[in-house]
Symmetry: C2
Subunit: 361 residues, 2 copies
Amino acid sequence: MMDVLRYRADEIWGFCGSVLEKLSVPQEDAETVSDCLLQADLRGVDSHGVIRLPVYAGRIRKGVVNPRPKPRIVMSYAAAALLDGDNGLGAVVGSQAMENAINLAALSGIGLVGVRRSNHFGIAAFYVGKAIQRNFIGVAASNAPPHMAPFGGRSRLLGTNPFAVGIPAGKRSPLLFDASTSVVARGKIIVAAQERKPIPDGWAIDCEGNPTTDAAAALAGSVLAFGGPKGSAISFIIDILCGVLTGSAFALHLNTLENLGAEQNLGHVFVALRTDLFMPTQEFAARMDAILEMLSVSPPAAGVERVLAAGELETQNEARNRALGVPLAASVVDQLATLGGELGVAFPDALGPAGEAEVPA
Amino acid sequence: MMDVLRYRADEIWGFCGSVLEKLSVPQEDAETVSDCLLQADLRGVDSHGVIRLPVYAGRIRKGVVNPRPKPRIVMSYAAAALLDGDNGLGAVVGSQAMENAINLAALSGIGLVGVRRSNHFGIAAFYVGKAIQRNFIGVAASNAPPHMAPFGGRSRLLGTNPFAVGIPAGKRSPLLFDASTSVVARGKIIVAAQERKPIPDGWAIDCEGNPTTDAAAALAGSVLAFGGPKGSAISFIIDILCGVLTGSAFALHLNTLENLGAEQNLGHVFVALRTDLFMPTQEFAARMDAILEMLSVSPPAAGVERVLAAGELETQNEARNRALGVPLAASVVDQLATLGGELGVAFPDALGPAGEAEVPA
């Protein structure tokens, strides 16, 4: 199994920020991107954490991401606006867009901000978390390069187009749903292929579109959308809203993150909604607590301790990782230390090894 | 197998309208409800078609649905409003709400209308179809009584909470996605139980929360959400937006359609969005045609003729059923004829038997 070490969260955050500043990213923007990456690792979504810093750095160095963008609103209505991201880092552009959506919602009840000319924005939960902090309901979605066959197809067309919904509550933790539209992250199939292990049925298809449990065949083929035709359609709709509607690239036109030869022109959509739209906010909060309580006390299936709300597991991860330190795989640390070395930024020392049982699944 | 006969669409529509008018529903409202039910049968979604007329009639007769509602806007913002449905039939209330959402969107870019004190609204596609006709993007969702266990649970808590998204295109047919948040309609499990046939794995759980292929055990247990934890969370979010946010009943508080002893107080949410928000509408239409074309020519999996967009199959059904007549099961016809007999409305004559191959799946 992989070696995993724990690091102080503030030191990892500081490292990311320093690396980005060395690459000409302004301090405030560097902090925003560091917030986004660190939050993913804290929540146990390590596929979207600091593991992405090297490719972000690579894209800036190759000139296909603008380190000092000036995102600007190019069209606006009472409740909607279009933000041109000026090819900046997704976390920078997305944070501004969610802020704009919240401001529109404060005035008009609901606000939608479409974004064009952006880049990989990390976890969608980062943006809806900002809405929750301001006591707004938030929705965030992004399109992504084609890695997924549509339902009934055998070739990659759809991105794993993620979306998140955040809803504040009262005494209970907010609901924070964040998911890709694929059954499973492609990264898990890569790991299985490396370890020459089969993958579960239903995760992927081979080049011919046939179901496969062979990880290598799956990598040559395509991951599947969650929920069959329904998830496939949801992924397609996200691409329409984020890509087609905003004027961004979409579907087969989207360049991958790893191809440093071209811009991505990703699109996002952010929506904010007032919690006091139809009743006083305290009443909404009490009703949220009531439905979350119903879910929490709902009788669990055999072998399940308790029914969890979306985001509960990640909130538990975050509390543990803030206390014990951020767990990072040694292979990720190696890449980050190399990157830091090239830029004259020292990688922090580990607090110690993370016990196997403590590592987020 | 069940006997299925075909009927003239206009005659079925007239029958529904006459029945509703006999029950004190105003002519215009009766026509709206008939439109909604007939459209479901035409599209091949017979679970939401005229098969529902007897229970609608039963609820009006028992006084738990108001046949002559005066739905009214009780709160409004530049881009959002709350409609009190006055306990009217869902199709009547929902049609007005979508109209209001479109009007808000025309002014403010996006419009959201929440609905409280409504009833079963039939197919969600009916409402987003109205948005498409006006060249708006439409979203419609409703909560529903608890028939589904949450992911990790064994008891019913969630409705099969449906949602639809409609997006106009140019030369190509619009995208029209409409789905429940369950893996499969409960009606299919009822049929399997009657025929003493097993159901596929993954459809349902028994009372203990264990997966089952026994249809009777599944009926005593719970249907499952589509896509595991993701679909379960989406269903929960729909209940929050339709029920918690609007002030309607939610989750365990929702009365079933079949229990004629109490009002339902269902909630809905409708959203409309301008297609010319961020570019001229012709350009949006051309981009929609482009992404729909990409999907259509995407190489199909083995055994699949062509990758279909959401709603394509239903559009094909509608064309066939308009030409050949609406297919209705003899058991449904019996119920409708009995209802008509009680109210002095003659049920139309059949055009003839529907061939097995012609019946929508």
